[in-house]
């Protein structure tokens, strides 16, 4: 006697609940019992079965099942657990052997409650050739990396980039808020150094009042962004290279690739994004701390008044100085992220390679910062910024 007939979407699967011999209820399964077919909830099935009175045993007939995967095993595990909770005896023996073995396997462990390269030195020309080829390979790898990075940014703009938002937030915190103490210390001291060096010269012709102008312009236009960037190259660029390098060693990046998940999007994009967003803010913050350091020297040793120092600084710094500093900081942020991620992704498969990647990331980052700073300074001069 039928008690209930339940069907999945588009009749992918069918479940026929019928009264069996004596006090048993029979669950007859047919169709496709796969995860994508939105299978029924065990509790609801048993509620339907018990709506026609009490029974103490459950039997199964899966002869009509055309296809199954983990979904059916999950359903049957849930039915068995729910039946046990309700004091019913579930007889799984009529099920196909593969399913029974998987159910037994899942239940088997109770859930826990509480070389050296040739010693001979290669001929000089061979070494030149090898070095040249290495240089070409390096340049191609860099271009490939930059191309992939650009495409991942395009996918991000198009809303198609795949990465974990939580990873982005965590990286933002690591490269932003957690970097404030070291950026504060270094920027403040750089401000003091600039003020002292400036004061020594300016005092000779009684122009020490211009220390405020010197420190203000130097910090906002140049030193704030550069010092913050160099700190980030040493702190964050190295960390990125070490993180990604370790993931190479542990085959974690291979695992992503095998799953068809682009490592560039999943791992590099959030790091680049985080540094690109945070570096301008850190640059501005470094400007302020540097000016504060200069003020301490001005007020403490040059007999300048606080108001006088403040107004000289405000009048000396133009909006163009501020914009130039923020633009440089943004560029430096992207370059530090690229250097760190590139070296991390190029890392070999040993722990020593991770150290080399981190070192290389710092060196590459600092070189890129200085070279780009020189280029930007010339460009800004040409366009009148």
């Amino acid at each position: 006697m039928a008690i209930a007939q339940i069907e999945g979407t588009a009749s992918a699967w069918q479940l026929h609940v019928a009264r069996g011999p004596s006090d048993a209820v029979l669950l007859r399964l047919s169709g496709r019992w796969t995860l994508d077919a939105r299978l029924p909830l065990a509790g609801a099935v048993l509620d339907d079965a018990q709506s026609d009175g009490r029974f103490s045993r459950m039997a199964f007939d899966a002869g009509g099942v055309e296809a199954w995967d983990s979904g059916l095993v999950i359903f049957l595990r849930a039915i068995a657990a729910e039946a046990q909770r309700r004091g019913l005896d579930a007889d799984l023996s009529p099920l196909p052997e593969g399913i029974r073995r998987l159910l037994a396997l899942a239940a088997a462990v109770p859930e826990r409650k509480d070389t050296s390269a040739g010693a001979r030195r290669p001929f000089f020309l061979a070494r030149v050739g090898t070095s040249t080829l290495d240089g070409v390979r390096e340049a191609r790898a860099l271009l490939a990396f930059l191309g992939e990075a650009f495409l991942s940014v395009v996918r991000l703009v198009g809303g198609k980039a795949r990465f974990q938002r939580s990873e982005l937030l965590l990286t933002l915190q690591q490269v932003g808020a957690q970097a404030l103490p070291i950026v504060s210390l270094i920027s403040f001291l750089v401000g003091i150094i600039l003020a002292y060096v400036g004061a020594l010269q300016l005092r000779q012709f009684g122009a020490q009042v211009y220390v405020a102008d010197l420190v203000g312009i130097a910090m906002t236009r140049e030193m704030g962004a550069m010092m913050a960037a160099i700190i980030m190259a040493g702190r964050t660029g190295a960390a990125f290279a070490a993180q990604l390098g370790t993931m190479q060693v542990n085959e974690e990046i291979d695992a992503l690739q095998t799953l068809g998940i682009p490592a560039m999007e999943f791992l590099v994009l959030p790091r680049m994004l985080a540094l690109a967003l945070m570096m301008p803010l850190l640059g501005v913050y470094a400007d302020l701390l540097g000016i504060l350091g200069g003020a301490v020297v001005g007020l403490g040793t040059l007999d300048l008044g606080a108001a006088e120092y403040y107004y000289r600084t405000i009048n000396a710094i133009g909006i163009d100085d501020f914009v130039a500093g923020v633009m440089k900081a943004s560029v430096f942020g992207v370059l530090v992220a690229i250097a760190g991620c590139l070296r991390g992704m190029q890392c070999g498969r040993s722990s020593a390679a991770v150290g080399a990647a981190a070192t290389s990331a710092v060196v590459t980052g600092i070189v890129l910062i200085i070279v780009s700073d020189a280029m930007l300074t010339v460009v800004f001069d040409l366009i009148g910024l």
């Binding site: 994508d36 593969g98 396997l105 899942a106 542990n250 085959e251 974690e252 690739q257």
Partner: protein
């Protein structure tokens, strides 16, 4: 008769100009536990990496269900990759994620399952490998054997047709190694999956292997193939015989 699940045809493997293996030709039938064996440094793991799309062969191709892997369009290749599960030598669990998050990631990427359904699948997969209740543990918090089993749970997340195991016994004690062999057998029998195992562990080879290929580092090609137990009895190649008898002479 079993159908051919995987065919490796005229495969050459090279690192730069250095030949690792050449002229590899073999087939793997559906439901086989196929062992890739050979001495250290012969290119077993490299062959596996060519078969799962991590390294492009210098020549030749790999066919899954008759479809070319390396000549396929990127989308077709990605679709084939989804039917493969890989257990890496080190486990390769993502260290910043819990075991549940590790298993859930491919499900989140490639299925439309709701969060509750993904939790159910994760619970089942971890239970199948004896790690029920370890969902919230990080890889660093569990033993090497448990990491291997968790990585197996992740490899099985999408119910793959083919499971690859790279040195599954590496770093495990004999009991854990035996338990993992039993698990591989059990999964083959219950899921009907085709299994490829890279190993040089003789007890494992004889316990689980139904078919095999033997790679030779000297000649840089395959020199034998077939059921490992049959090879032990009948293969007259001295290298294969020495390997399968742990160095004993004829």
């Amino acid at each position: 008769m079993s159908s051919v699940k995987i065919e490796v045809r005229d495969l050459d493997m090279m690192y730069g100009t250095r030949v690792i293996q050449k002229n590899l030709n073999f087939t793997v039938n559906a439901g086989d536990v196929f062992v890739i064996m050979g001495g250290s440094g012969c290119g077993k793991s490299t062959l596996l990496r060519h078969m799962i799309g991590l390294i492009e062969p210098a020549r030749g191709d790999v066919y899954y269900d008759g479809r070319s892997f390396w000549d396929a369009e990127p989308s077709g290749r990605a679709a084939q990759l989804r039917r493969l599960g890989v257990l890496y030598q080190s486990g390769a669990l993502w260290s910043s994620m819990t075991l549940a998050e590790n298993v859930a990631l491919p499900l989140g990427e490639y299925t439309d399952l709701a969060a509750a359904e993904i939790r159910d699948v994760v619970a089942l997969k971890l239970a199948l490998v004896g790690l029920a209740g370890f969902e919230d543990f990080y890889p660093a918090e569990i033993s090497g054997g448990m990491r291997k089993r968790a990585a197996l749970a992740r490899a099985m997340a999408l119910d793959p047709d083919v499971l690859f195991f790279d040195e599954p016994s590496a770093g495990l004690d004999p009991i854990s190694s035996r338990l993992l062999d039993d698990l591989i057998h059990e999964l083959r029998d219950s899921l009907g999956a085709t299994i490829i195992v890279v190993t040089h562990e003789l007890p494992s080879i004889f316990a689980i292997g139904t078919n095999s290929v033997f790679l030779d580092a000297e000649t840089k090609t395959m020199i034998a193939g077939g059921d490992p137990k049959t090879l032990l009895r009948e293969c007259r190649d001295p290298k294969v015989h020495r390997f399968l008898t742990r160095g004993e002479e004829n």
